[in-house]
Structure formats: structure tokens, C-alpha cells
């Protein structure tokens, strides 16, 4: 889907209420490994006037089961998500991958179950990836933050191809004081993460992430940004293994001015 269609959907949706009630879909990786991204998302949403809640009963979107072919488990998890996130104006998450699962895959999962399909469609219609939600639905530009660095941006696959997220993060990041964005070769080619793929086929995955980090390196950027923690963990892990000092952050951390702590995979007492 192209960027235009996402905009068209957003434009066709009822106008955003003044202070929408937004449920944060934290995503399982952010919840467990890097809560800072979750709090950055909260800050960006609250700054934009949203009333943010993070429902206690949330776990995961179910993508690992779905992509492994276990559709029955995926359906049960989807039902849990649909129930947990009922009633909010919007559901927003800092991941193109998880939000694509909710927006695109849930309706497909229930293609033979009219009642749940309607609920899945209803949820899909008000679920958004964080950055594109800010730009395409709320039409806001976050308050200026600062980062003195040259950065390059990796386009994660689901966000890019299922949700049309390409220009939005670049637009917002261009407002960050001191940050210079440079494009890497093949920014839109998969980094080799692929959920369970990266541990099922480690040799192929490492080859892919090595190609990716070589492209990152070639830009000379000291910071690597992206919109999906899975990919960022993969790339940060490879960069670290290669002894590179590239700092890796989620774009939301930078936009919220919360990229002052250790980067992904970096020790706490960084000199």
C-alpha cells in the first residue's frame, strides 16, 4: 500500500476527537527489553494531546504464531487483543510490524467468521503505528528535540510495505535539532530479523544483517534509527559483535528527546 492510501484512510476516518483516548499497544519486545521506547511513545502521544492508557492485559499481537502457521493460536491471541483494546478511540504502537498484524492480518485471520471479522475490522480501522499516527492522523509535529549526530534510517519491512511508512519518520526526524539524516544503500531491504527466522536460519540471517550493517557503515553515520525494535536488536547486536560504536535507537526515543541513556545493546556506564 502506498503512503497516499494510508493518508486517504486517515482522511476518510472521522476527524480525530480533541483529546482522544489512546491505548498504547506496547508490543512484547518493548515491554520486556526496552521500556524506554514505550515511555517515549507515551510522551509523544501525551504531548499531542492524547489521553494515554496501557491496558494491563496486553501481551503480544500473536504474530509469531501466525507466521509459524499456527493460525488457531494466532486467532485466540487476536481475540484477546480485540477484547482488551475495545472502546478506545485509537490503538497505537511503536512498531510497524505489530500494527500491520492488527491492521492487515487480523481481518484475514477471521475471513470465515463474520462476527469476529467485523470486530477485527473495527479494531483495524482505529489501530496505527506510532509515527504515522502522529503525522497522518493527528497531523502534529512533536516539540523539537535535539541530537547532535549524523544518523541513517532503516525501513522495517512490514511498516514500509504493509503500512506505507517511509517518508513520515524522515519528515519528523528532520525537525530534530542537530540531527543530520543520510540515506544508506538499500535502506528498504530486510535486515534478516524476521521474527523466529533469525534463530531458525541463523546463517542466512547473519549474512543479511551483515549486508545491512555494511550499508550502515558505508554512510559514516554514528547513529542508526528505525521504527521496529526487533530489527534494531538484530542490527545493534551485529554492530556490537563487529566492534562498531554505532548507536542504535528507536526513532520515537529521539523524537521524544529520550535518547540520552545508553543506546540499544550499549552498557549503562558508557564513557
Amino acid at each position: 500500500m502506498t503512503v497516499q492510501t494510508v493518508n486517504a484512510i486517515a482522511a476518510g476516518a472521522p476527524k480525530a476527537p480533541a483529546n482522544p483516548r489512546v491505548a498504547l499497544f506496547v508490543t512484547c519486545l518493548v515491554d520486556l527489553i526496552r521500556p524506554n521506547i514505550g515511555f517515549a511513545a507515551v510522551k509523544l502521544l501525551e504531548d499531542a494531546g492524547c489521553r494515554v492508557e496501557a491496558p494491563r492485559a496486553q501481551v503480544c499481537c500473536g504474530q509469531p504464531a501466525y507466521n509459524s502457521g499456527d493460525f488457531a493460536s494466532a486467532r485466540r491471541i487476536a481475540q484477546q487483543v480485540i477484547t482488551t483494546f475495545a472502546g478506545f478511540d485509537y490503538v497505537v504502537g511503536p512498531s510497524g510490524s505489530c500494527m500491520a498484524t492488527i491492521r492487515k492480518d487480523y481481518p484475514a485471520l477471521f475471513e470465515d467468521d463474520a462476527a469476529w471479522r467485523d470486530k477485527a475490522n473495527e479494531l483495524a480501522g482505529r489501530s496505527f503505528e506510532l509515527i504515522s499516527f502522529l503525522t497522518d492522523v493527528l497531523h502534529v509535529t512533536p516539540a523539537t528535540s535535539a541530537m547532535n549526530a549524523t544518523a541513517t534510517y532503516h525501513d522495517s519491512c512490514s511498516g514500509l510495505r504493509s503500512l506505507g511508512i517511509k517518508q513520515q519518520p524522515r519528515d519528523l526526524l528532520s525537525n530534530v535539532t542537530g540531527l543530520k539524516l543520510v540515506e544508506m544503500q538499500d535502506s528498504d531491504v530486510c535486515c534478516g530479523f524476521g521474527g523466529t527466522f533469525c534463530v531458525k536460519y541463523p546463517e542466512i540471517s547473519v549474512k543479511m544483517v551483515s549486508d545491512k550493517t555494511a550499508n550502515v557503515d558505508a554512510t559514516g553515520a554514528s547513529v542508526l534509527l528505525g521504527g521496529d525494535l526487533g530489527c534494531l536488536l538484530n542490527m545493534a547486536g551485529r554492530l556490537k559483535r563487529l566492534g562498531k560504536t554505532t548507536r542504535v535507537y528507536h526513532a520515537a526515543e529521539v523524537l521524544a528527546g529520550m535518547a540520552n541513556g545508553p543506546a540499544i545493546g550499549e552498557a549503562e556506564d558508557r564513557p
Binding site: D31, L32, R34, N36, G69, T196, K207, K240, G265
Partner: protein, 472 residues
Amino acid sequence: MTAHPLNFDRRVAAGLGDEGLQKSLSALKGSFVAARGRAVLALPEFEALRDDGKAIKDHTLANLDAYLETYEAAVIARGGHVHWARDAAEARDIVRAICKQAGARTVTKGKSMVSEEIELNAALEADGLEVVETDAGEYILQLGREMPSHIVMPTVHKTTEQIADLFQKHHAAHGFPDRTLDAAELIGQVRSVLRGKYFKADVGITGANFLVAETGSNIIVTNEGNGDLTSTLARVHIVTTGIEKVVPTLEDLSVMLRLLARSALGSEITSYTTLSTGPRRPGDLDGPEAYHVVLIDNGRANMLSGHFREMLRCIRCGACMNHCPVYMSVGGHAYGSVYPGPMGAVLTPMISGHEAAGELPHACTLNGRCQSVCPVKIPLPDLLRRLRHEQWEQKLVSGTVRFGISAWAWLALRPRLYRATTSLAMRVLGRLGRSKGAFRWLPLASGWTDGRDLPAPEGLTFSELWARRQQR
């Protein structure tokens, strides 16, 4: 179709470690992938053409019985013969019988992936026929007794040095005793060796990029001209083709041709696009005396019901593999099937069954780049996921993966227990990993840590921190 499910890992390792292959694959990126990008940019109508191409194939497939009958009648009306084959074995037998009836000794062949699929060469050679592949790439593979590693560029895995060695060994008898590394000289040798074969051939076999129902024509698209020499100079022309290749009219064909050349090679059109229809007409000075078409099912009709019908739109352009980071990492032979890459990972289980295809549908990150370049918009990632689903349902997914996913799903459906377990685990991992920021090694995580560090968690989970913030 022989597929080799076993030793996928070994073939992957071989591909990753093959320097020549890795060089060729990077070159492919610079040549054909870049050329496709330019060709698509140069044609603002390309997206609309993709929609048209999809619509044409969807319409034809939805009425496939009618179009095949129309096509058959048109072939017969122009003096050709149509044979129907349920499977590979029957297709081979039909071709063998035609060769026998023609008293054939020498058979020339244009490039045909279907003939690879039905393993035709071996059957004809067993009958004592001299079989000569005429596409330069296929000819090289025939000398080396190898499978193609790409559906458009079958020799993409071979280096000039390897081809030079092969030719030195086989071409001395044809007056080329010296080894050469010059590409033009190597191709010159092929031209010279094969020229006489075209004239000597009793039977010429080609594939079909498309069939046109309106006229009863088969279309082949080449840059070399070998397909035309094969079909024009042999006494008998046999076309081996899948039943899904038909399109209704010449106008529909025109759309498909625009899509094919750009997607496959990045060119607007290939050097030669030829419609062959029936045998030579009365008074014609060349062309075959007899024209046969073998329409091959081999698993295709069963794909018509349900989601996999979409795969029958495939026009074998190869764009999906050129843009697949997995294919580009491991090369075509890793797939162990005549159809590699994303399209092969779907087709191989459909044609040869799940047991034969093994893990092909799983060896993919579902990144979707293939779908975004497919000229007929086949949702390859969705189809791969559906194949995984079939394997899951048939209990063909390996025990550890199955157990892992099931256990994780069980836990994910119990949010309280999930939170308790994960927050404890993250606390431990966070404490262990804090000083370095990442793990170089973790028990049971070698799949990750053999090639990369594992970034350590912060220690407290978002849900714990959020609960604290709410209490304040």
C-alpha cells in the same frame, strides 16, 4: 519434479561459502535489479499495467476450461496437435512418443522451465536421443550436468573460469582446444557448435511464455534467437507448457509482454518475441512439418481452488528472486528445486508436495519485497504463510518449533502468569547484562548469539514501570 528437501542447511552453507556465487549475486544486483528499477521508473504506467496484468490472468484463470478449449480448437484449426498431460510422467511419455513417431535422433531444445520440471532430458536420453540445449545458459548447464539456479539466468552461479574449464573439456572435439576466459569467445564457441545441430534436428522443443487462445499461438521471448532457430529449423516442433500460460487475446498478450521484459531483464522488450502457430503453411520454405503442444497439469489444476490460484498468475519473470534477500544470500541451488526463490518456495510444495519441499516455505522473513515487484501482484508472503499453516496442520513442522510456539502461545493467553514470568526473567537478564549492555553468549540462544550480540533488557518491564507510574 525432483526436489531435495534434505540437507537444506548444508546447501545454504555451501551457497554462503561460495565466493564465486556471492560475487555473481552482487553483480546481479548491479545489473538486472538496477535495470529493472530504471525501466519501471521510465514507465509511469507500470503500476497500472501491473493491475491490468493481474486482471488478465485472474479473468483467464476464472474461465480456464473455456480458454483452454478455445486455444485447443485454434491450434487444431491451424494444423497443430494438442496433447493433455496429467502429470510429469505422462508429459514425458507424450514427448517420447512424438519423437519416436518422427523417427527422431537429434532433439534441439529452447529454454523451457517446464521441461526441467518434468525432467524431460533424462527421459529422452534414455531413449537414445541426442538432446541439445540451445540456450547458452542451459547448454552450459547441460555440459556440467547441473540444475539451473535461476529461472531467467540459469547460470548465474557459474563463474567465467568454471565455464572456460567446461568448454575446454568438451569443445576440443569441435576445434576449440584452447582454454579462453573471453566471454565473447566462449559464446562464439557455443554458436559454432550449435549451428549445425539446428539443421540436423528432427525435433525442436520449446516452452511457452504465453499461449494465446484467440489464435492458438505459443509465444517465446528470447534475446539469443536460439528458440527461433529451434522451432523453425527442426522437422517437428513440440511445445511443452503448463496449462496456466494461456491468455485470451493478442491485446492481452501485449500487456503481459510489457510486464515480462521489464520485470525479468529491465528492458522494454527482448530481442525476439515470436508467435508460433501450427506447422508450415502450404508453399512455406521453412518451418516445421508438424506442430505439437503438450498441455501439462502436474498439480496446477488443484491450485485453482482456494488461495493458491493466485500463484498461477506467475509469468516466471524472476523478479521475486532478484529482489529476495534470502535468495541473494544463498543462491538458487540452496532451494534444491528447479524453481528457486520466493516463487519456487510456493510452487515446489504445490507441485511436489510438502514432504518434498520441506522447509522451503519457512526460509523466508516475509519481508514482502517480492510481492512489491511481482508484475502480477502475487501475494507471495501470504501464500508462504498459508503453506506453513498447511504444514502445521499436517504436523510437518518440527517438534522443537512446534513445542516452542505452542508453549509461548499458551503463556501469552494467560496475561497474569505471563507478566509474572517475564518480569522475573527480565530482572535476571537485566542484572546479568547491565555492565556490558549485551550478551555475547546465552544458554539456548546460540541461534542468535553465534553471529551477533544479544542486547540486554533494561531490567524492569514496561508494564511494571507503568504500574508504578499509575500509582504515583
